[in-house]
Amino acid sequence: MVSRVLRGRLLLDHIGPTYTEVLKRQMESSASGAQDRLINKVIDKGLCVACGACVGLCPYFHYFDGKVLAMARCSRDTGRCVEICPLIDRGDIALDKMTSDVMNTPEIGPYKKIIMACSLDKEINEKAQYGGVVSSLITYALGKDIIRSAILTDAGDGYAPAGTVARSRSDVIGCAGSRYTASAGLEALNMAIKTGEQKLGIVGLPCQMEALTRMRHMGSDGENRANSIVLKIGLFCTWALDYRSLFADLRNRGLREPILKCDIPPPPAGVFQICTRDGWREFPLNDIRPFIKKGCSLCQDMTAEWSDISVGAIEGIDEWNTVVLRTDLGLRLMEQATEDGVVKVDDLPKKNLMHLAEASFNKKERGRLTRGEIR
């Protein structure tokens, strides 16, 4: 019989594992530390939504140019990173829902009042995403010394947007407008706490509000950290986008930075709009969907239920915001701001409230389903 080799066949399929494979198998270690759990369950699975809660607690995580990255390996068994991450299931802590005298709907969560509002500050109106309620309330709270500084998300300076500490009206206005990419704003909170800042206000997405609630239950200093925050303004959110893959794609389509403004007009528009120095451009939402953060599909909170005040858009009324007042603090702040002529308020049309509840309910359902699939 002519041998396989002489017939031109290599015998590689019979030689088994390579030299390096054998060595590697001998060295394989089992990773079991706290950070390992976070990396295995969240980061390596691509589920991180870049809320930034773990960034800045230690040197092992960085947020850089739109991405949260594990920089080196920590060896501790326990750690605050796994305790605070909103993507880690935590049946063990009862995340404290609100006080008694509230409405508590399964769709929108606990609240005292839902209204619509808009800013009366011209400069803010010009730069804000919709009604400018967020920027106005933060500016107002700074002015009244309710908060001393605010953790906001900037527009990004050469790199992706990121968290920042705002101390003045111009800082706040500089941050007005929505960046639809996940931007790890909570890193700035951790940095601010490190430098001893107190009486902080914070604006963030629902995942970020949830992380703040977990923070109270976290490690040795969670309570202290949570106490340094006095005001939490949450933004409505359906999903956030991944900065790096999105912009790699948009650049390929000829988009030139810097980005001046973005918008996702309510259905049925189905487009993602971006304004650069070249003017406005529209991209079909379906082209953008691939860049939605994978972890966002697990999220069941559209209206930022863990905040004092939640703010979103209103379908069809561009210059106004939907505002959910959830806590006494939220309610009072809104009343004062209205009295002082900073914002004006009105009743939210029934139809809009119903739409909101429906959209919020749908997100919860989707999240529940996907959670079952992914986990």
């Binding site: 706290a34 607690l57 230690c58 040197p59 092992y60 960085h62 850089f64 140019d65 991405k67 990255l69 594990a70 920089m71 080196a72 920590c74 060896s75 501790r76 326990t78 750690g79 605050r80 490690g219 040795s220």
Partner: protein, 634 residues
């Protein structure tokens, strides 16, 4: 004049093997000396450079080994004796020239010294350069002691002139760096009259005829080797075992034979002229007994050659039992030691030579007092900053990027001291050569970013062609030149960028930036001590296409320490330090790993080891608590 360059002879000096080789060359009247630094060879050129202050000789550090041999050969062609020195890796670089040179032949004595590094103590390999003597048909001499190294070197020039070809001398680390009493001889008068005789020509044509001449020259050497006193036999007339050995390994053999009291039972054949073999001499001794053991450093060079010769003459001397690397009697790699030979002989003669009681007593104690140590960059080393910046940039980038490494102190990037960033290291300049290949794989879907590092000296030595290749073929490469302004790994020899020659003469330094720019390659400069900014620059460069050069410039910490000293006195504020707590987990010690930072067991906090820390201050930037404080030194 005293020391190495003194003219008078008949006195003893305490000389290192490498110094003895240098003196041997001087005693032969060498006037042209060239080499490229590399452990364990560097001291030969350094010694000659020192002698050049007193003697009318010329010494240079060449840009690489090939150019070194070429430059030295020019001297030989014009009638001046010349020596060229390198480590084993260098022979590879010079080989292309050497294989042609031995066809063309030489004129005045030309000697090539290779210092091999068995066990690769400070090398990327433990190559045995003797094999090249066979490849290029050059006579090979192997000294055993500094004294013999001196005499052999002088004689090598005579031999080279007699056969009109280059002669190789092979030293090894132990010999090069051993210091013994050496008897020196008088120096000749140095009166070179270089002239290229245009009646002669040096080339390889006609090739076959020149090849034949090359063999005839070897035969001529062989005749001289038969009577050479570098070869000798010691031991019984009819020994039970004949040990054939060369170089340092022979000294271990004699030691082992003494310790085991086997001098009546074994014979030792020391060969100093190992290529071509002195066949008549060998035959006489091979006939003495039926069992032959080979002991030599690294490859079975003698072993294979003698066995092959033994086969040729087996009808005359009869069958033999040959023992050595092939039979497994001696280790097939690594350096020989007296112990390795004691082990073989002990087994062959059933002698238990170990003092077990003593071993049992000592080994547990030694285990305690000798903690395990890893290779480490010096405190204050700019490469630590460079690798930290690289590691940070690669992690930020998160596309599974890696570093293609090169030869120098920064090779340690393969270990934790360089954060295990370097994933391949081969020859001088190969990091960039590889990178120019990775940089063309994008068409097949390869998108991992590759950063390549290369020292300043390595850049001049062999990286320039690779950079031109990247430019020529439009490869996406990011070259980081780790410019510490010294050939630090081998002992601070000057190089083309330092503005000083081997003899201390000032020269116009070669401007790396201008060189790169002349290729229209983008060049930036950053400070490796400013790790975060440097990381950002690296990150930015990683997002770009085409060949790019980033020079990370900071003086070698040892040079800086000698010249100006460092600015800071460092201190850890232990109230701020988190130690093992969440938020740190000994980041400075576990991850950053500068040896200046140590663990205070009592306080369970980090502290500065004031003896080791040089005060560069860069660790202050990586502490999450800012607990490592820089205080200005008065």
């Amino acid at each position: 004049m005293k020391g190495i360059s003194q003219r008078s002879g008949d006195i003893h000096l305490l000389l290192q093997g490498n110094e003895a080789i240098a003196r041997g060359a001087l005693e032969a009247g060498v006037v042209f000396c060239a080499g490229y630094p590399g452990n364990p060879s560097s001291e030969i050129i350094e010694t000659l450079a020192e002698a050049a202050r007193d003697l009318p000789i010329y010494v240079e550090w060449s840009v690489n080994e090939k150019v070194a041999v070429e430059a030295a050969t020019a001297a030989s062609f014009t009638g001046c004796r010349a020596i060229v020195v390198m480590k084993q890796n260098g022979i590879n670089v010079a080989l292309d020239f050497l294989t042609n040179l031995t066809l063309s032949g030489t004129r005045a004595g030309l000697v090539l010294v290779t210092c091999d590094d068995p066990s690769g103590i400070s090398s990327t390999n433990e190559e045995d350069a003797r094999i090249f003597a066979r490849i290029i048909d050059a006579p090979l001499l192997e000294p055993t002691t500094p004294q013999e190294a001196l005499v052999m070197t002088t004689w090598a020039f005579e031999l080279s002139e007699k056969i009109e070809n280059i002669v190789m001398i092979r030293s090894v680390s132990r010999l090069s760096h051993t210091r013994t009493r050496v008897l020196i001889n008088e120096l000749p008068s140095f009166d070179p009259r270089p002239h290229f005789d245009t009646g002669l020509s040096f080339h390889t044509f006609p090739v076959v005829a020149k090849h034949k001449m090359r063999h005839e020259k070897l035969d001529l050497a062989r005749v001289l080797f038969e009577k050479s006193s570098f070869n000798h036999y010691e031991g019984a007339v009819r020994p039970e075992l004949l040990i054939v050995s060369s170089g340092c390994a022979w000294t271990y053999v004699t030691e082992a034979v003494d310790i085991l009291e086997l001098s009546d039972r074994v014979g030792t054949l020391k060969l100093g002229t190992t290529w071509p073999l002195p066949k008549g001499f060998l035959k006489k001794h091979l006939a003495k007994c039926d069992r032959v053991l080979f002991v030599e450093d690294v490859d079975p060079f003698l072993e294979d050659n003698v066995k092959s010769f033994g086969a040729d003459i087996c009808m005359e001397i009869g069958p033999k039992e040959y023992m050595g690397k092939a039979s497994g009697h001696t280790p097939s790699c690594g350096e020989q030691t007296p112990a390795s030979i004691l082990r073989v002989l002990g087994r062959l003669f059933s002698v238990d030579w170990q003092d077990h009681a003593f071993m049992d007593k000592v080994s547990p104690i030694v285990k305690d007092i000798a903690p395990p140590r890893e290779f480490g960059l010096c405190p204050g080393c700019p490469h630590r900053g460079s690798y930290y910046a690289i590691k940070t940039a690669l992690a930020w980038d998160d596309r599974d990027g890696f570093v293609s490494g090169d030869i120098g102190c920064y090779t340690m990037g393969i270990w934790p001291t360089g954060f295990n960033q370097v994933k391949s290291v081969h020859a001088m300049g190969s990091g960039l050569g590889l990178a120019s290949g990775y940089g063309k794989l994008d068409r097949f879907g390869f998108h991992q970013p590759v950063v390549t590092v290369c020292g300043d000296s390595t850049f001049f030595h062999a990286a320039i062609p690779a950079l031109i290749n990247a430019k020529f073929n439009g490869a996406d490469v990011l070259l980081l030149i780790l410019d510490n302004s010294a050939t630090a790994m081998t002992g601070f020899q000057p190089h083309p960028g330092t503005g000083k020659t081997a003899m201390g003469t000032k020269t116009d330094p070669v401007d790396m930036e201008a060189l790169c720019r002349s290729l229209k390659v983008d060049v930036e400069v950053a400070d490796p001590y400013d790790m975060l900014s440097t990381a950002k620059i690296i990150y930015r460069n990683m997002q770009q296409k085409g060949p790019r050069v980033l020079i990370l410039r900071r003086k070698c910490a040892l040079v800086e320490g000698r010249e100006r000293g460092f600015p800071y006195k460092m201190r850890v504020d232990q109230d701020l330090c988190l130690g093992e707590e969440c938020g740190c987990d000994r980041y400075c010690l576990r991850i950053f790993r500068c040896p200046g930072l140590v663990w205070d067991k009592h306080a369970q906090k980090a502290k500065i080891d004031g003896v080791i820390c040089v005060g560069c201050g860069i660790c202050s930037d990586i502490c999450p608590q800012r607990a490592i404080l820089r205080e200005e030194r008065e």
